[in-house]
């Protein structure tokens, strides 16, 4: 504790929880020190890394993995809340474990309804490599589905519905229905400049809107955490991330 890296024993074996408070460079130094100091402990260990929501550049990611490799450490898998990190991990052939980070975060829970939602009955897709960009406002009765990530530059009005196998980002007001991870991807997120959906679904979770919305229009993001949908301000998170970079 205290050095930004927490070692935890779990179902998957040893898990390293990497604090988001540290920069990537600090993290590498601390990690290297730790590995040197307790080299016998980590000898031939298979580790799980928990990155939280930390974003990575592609180079940073591979460099970070390089350090671990050179210390003789095998990576069993990673936990991440960041879709891009997840994508890079998949490309590097590293297994994704669980539904995301086990770090606790401060969130406000929005009438979560545990499973019972419909998901398409196909197997979860491996990777959502493609994305669709829609540049218009979706009005009542209009549907937009994409088998990957979906970005809307415009509003999604009440009565309209957007769905995607991957993540959904609305650069505008989301007031209709959104279903991310429609094929069962529990790691999918829904983000919008104004997140006021009538109903929000991620994989097989459903959350309905609260009757009263807070009036401050901050960008928000919804994701699944411990089996239910949680919404948190995106701007706040972004600030934390900015301080890291």
């Amino acid at each position: 504790m205290g050095d930004g890296i927490v070692v935890k024993g779990g179902r998957e074996g040893l898990t390293l929880i990497l604090s988001p408070e540290l920069s990537l460079q600090e993290l590498s130094t601390v990690l290297q020190e730790k590995l040197l100091k307790e080299s016998t402990f980590f000898q031939n260990a298979e580790l799980v890394l928990d990155f939280g929501a930390r974003p990575f550049q592609e180079k940073e990611f591979s460099a970070f993995l390089g350090i671990l490799h050179s210390a003789g450490i095998r990576i069993k898998g990673i936990l991440s809340d960041n879709p891009i990190t997840k994508l890079m991990a998949k490309e590097a052939g590293i297994e994704l474990i669980g539904n995301g980070s086990i770090m606790s975060s401060r969130v406000r829970i929005d009438h979560p309804v545990k499973s019972g939602g419909k998901i398409l009955k196909e197997k979860p897709e491996e990777v959502h490599a493609s994305a669709l960009f829609v540049r218009k406002t979706l009005r009542s009765g209009q549907l937009q589905h994409f088998n990957g990530d979906l970005t809307i530059l415009g509003d999604v009005n009440p009565g309209a519905e957007v769905s995607a196998a991957g993540n959904i980002v609305v650069f505008g007001s989301l007031r209709g229905i959104a279903h991310a991870g429609i094929r069962g991807d529990q790691t999918a997120v829904v983000a919008a400049l104004e997140l006021k959906p009538t109903q929000l679904r991620i994989a097989d979770c459903i959350a309905r809107s609260s009757e009263e919305w807070n009036e401050d229009h901050v960008p928000e993001m919804a994701k699944i955490e411990r089996g239910s949908i949680v919404i948190e301000p995106y701007a706040l998170k972004h600030k934390v991330l900015r301080s890291l970079l």
Binding site: T137, R139, S173
Partner: protein, 268 residues
């Protein structure tokens, strides 16, 4: 070449027919040659609101099916204006008796003779709507400050976009400013946040509309009606697309505000 407008709303009972009658009469009063087409086959109303029911011989279905010699035979001349005509809907037939293609052809023929062709659209989004929209190049959406009416209007705007008809304009009907101020009714900002289209005008809730509809005399011709005044202004904006309706800011019409203005004038 005349312009073809469709007056539509999605939801029923928001005032499409009343709006069509008033816009038509208003345009005719300003000297334009106007023809109104009622496409609500089976539920015809426009003739009643104009007080022309007893003059109907041929109707829209007769026109498109060629049962009268020419469209001219089905055109009913208005009581008040020489330059205002109506093609009424059929009462005993179905909306399927007319096709969108037939409407297109009819509108193309009529726009050669008239400055304005106004099409009164039935409620709903089915065949009747498709007929009404087919020949129009501009759309006027009528809605009231209710969530259901606004939701349907939004749907209609989406369907119009799908037909390649962009930039429809909005008439907000049955407005009660006192309720809007108190936040008991959807405000114009609430509505525009969803619909986000150009505003042709707002028509206040007015009892005189009920009376005038029942009498068959459009309110736009009644100088003392508030709704009539609103329609007269809307007619001006219809004729000139560059005129934009701006919601007047509530410029302190309380006692203090008025006193301030009064003194400001005296000073000057």
């Amino acid at each position: 070449m005349g312009k073809v407008f469709v007056i539509t709303s999605g939801k029923g009972g928001v005032g499409k027919t009343t709006a069509t009658a008033n816009l038509g009469s208003g345009l005719a009063a300003s000297g334009e040659r106007v023809i109104l087409i009622d496409t609500d086959i089976g539920l015809r109303n426009l003739d009643l609101v104009l007080g022309l029911e007893n003059r109907i011989v041929f109707d829209l279905v007769d026109v498109v099916q060629g049962k009268c010699r020419s469209p001219r035979q089905a055109m009913i001349k208005d009581k008040r204006f020489e330059n205002l005509y109506l093609i009424p809907a059929a009462q005993s037939k179905d909306k399927e008796d007319v096709t969108p293609q037939q409407m297109k052809t009819l509108c193309e023929n009529l726009r050669r003779e008239f400055d304005y062709v106004l099409i009164d659209c039935p409620a709903g989004i089915e065949h009747g709507f498709k007929n009404a929209v087919a020949g129009a190049d501009e759309a006027v959406i009528v809605t009231t400050p209710e969530v259901s009416a606004v939701r349907d209007a939004d749907r209609i705007i989406g369907l119009l976009e799908a037909e390649g008809k962009y930039s429809p304009r909005l008439i907000l009907n049955r407005v009660r400013k006192d309720m809007m101020k108190k936040g008991q009714m959807m405000s114009i900002e609430d509505i525009q946040e969803i619909l986000n289209i150009k505003l042709l005008g707002m028509v206040p809730e007015d009892e005189a509309i009920v009376v005038s509809s029942n009498k068959g005399e459009p309110a736009v011709l009644n100088p003392s009606s508030k709704a009539g005044e609103a329609y007269r202004q809307i007619v001006e904006r219809m004729k000139d697309p560059d005129l934009v309706y701006t919601v007047k800011p509530d410029n302190g019409e309380n006692l203090f505000g008025r006193l301030w203005k009064f003194f400001a004038k005296v000073e000057a």
